[in-house]
């Protein structure tokens, strides 16, 4: 029988919360309040993202994505992924369903990895914010190092995928 990890983890978390509540009720309540805030935020953001992914899945034909972002899309595909990741706003977990939908529609792993990493780390408002607080030198140097790092990371992901180290068979 296969043990499902999520219910086990939930049970452990519940037990830990109860144990902490017996010693330090304030700490246990803090855990629950912090969690509640994050849960409300995620429940506010994920449904519309998943609806858009559903619409995308239903309407956009696979060959279109294969052509734009597939294995043969080359530098143009990488540029599109980079742009997609930069213009979008929102937390990284909102990018997961979008990246997965793109992957299922025929985008290459390289391009999806670029998209995810760029979404996570490069946002124009965020760069301005970083400049304001940590200085232009810091923000721009970090940006200049992050872009090649993302391309190398994605290249390594592609290398691992080709050796079946990411998906067992494809």
């Amino acid at each position: 029988m296969k043990i499902k990890p999520v219910p086990v983890i939930l049970a452990i978390l519940a037990a830990a919360t109860v144990l902490i509540y017996m010693r330090r009720p304030d700490r246990a309540l803090s855990v629950l309040f912090v969690s509640k805030d994050y849960l409300l935020e995620m429940l506010f953001i994920l449904p519309p993202v998943l609806i858009l992914c559903g619409l995308f899945d239903a309407w956009v034909p696979k060959p279109t994505i294969e052509r734009l972002l597939g294995e043969a899309s080359g530098a143009r595909g990488a540029a599109i992924s980079l742009l997609l990741g930069t213009v979008a706003m929102g937390p990284l977990y909102a990018a997961f369903p979008i990246g997965k939908t793109l992957l299922d529609k025929g985008a290459s792993l390289y391009n999806v990895a670029v998209f995810l990493c760029v979404w996570a780390s490069i946002k124009i408002p965020m760069i301005l914010f970083e400049t304001k607080f940590l200085g232009a030198e810091f923000a721009l140097l970090r940006l200049a190092l992050t872009i090649p790092a993302i391309l190398i990371i994605s290249g390594l992901m592609k290398f691992l995928e080709a050796r079946s180290l990411i998906y067992a068979q494809k």
Binding site: V49, L55, Y93, E130, F133, L145
Partner: protein, 160 residues
């Protein structure tokens, strides 16, 4: 909350437009939504509960304060580990990082913290694995961690 409001608006408009063009495809989209949402819900609750623990018992200012000037390799690795684990929105993280720079924190360590904060998510990795598989999440996060360290060392050397 600008992002959430915008995305609700776009999703609503998209559904309306889709419904007018094809009921069948719209229903398919809604089924896609239902299926993915239900399969995600338990993991999301577990991840968020764990986030509650981490944010309660590992306050950001406490850990960042323990990274002083010239802590070198140790400071950079500690800051990178911390940045990987916590989830702080950028509008809190950057002012916080700036205040520690003023207090004399190592600039390389601050770079490590900021870079891993955005690129590496230990807490969101289970969710990432649910979408892309365990190996994908493991490799993307570990490679990002290694490159964040590289970025931090370069920045520490250049800006010191």
């Amino acid at each position: 909350m600008g992002f959430a409001a915008a995305i609700w608006g776009i999703a609503g408009a998209g559904l309306l437009l889709s419904w007018m063009k094809s009921r069948e495809k719209t229903l398919a989209a809604l089924w896609f939504f239902r299926r993915s949402f239900l399969s995600l819900a338990p993991s999301i609750v577990a991840i968020i509960w764990a986030i509650g623990f981490i944010l309660t018992f590992l306050p950001a200012d406490y850990v960042l304060r323990s990274i002083g000037p010239d802590t070198g390799l140790q400071g950079i690795v500690l800051a990178a580990v911390f940045g990987s684990v916590v989830l702080i929105p950028a509008f809190i993280a950057f002012p916080l990082a700036a205040s520690f720079v003023r207090q004399g924190a190592d600039i390389g360590a601050i770079a490590a913290f900021v870079t891993t904060l955005v690129m590496v998510g230990v807490l969101t990795a289970p969710l990432e694995a649910k979408f892309f598989g365990k190996n994908f999440a493991l490799w993307r996060n570990s490679l990002s961690f290694v490159f964040a360290l590289v970025i931090a060392f370069v920045m520490g050397a250049v800006l010191r």
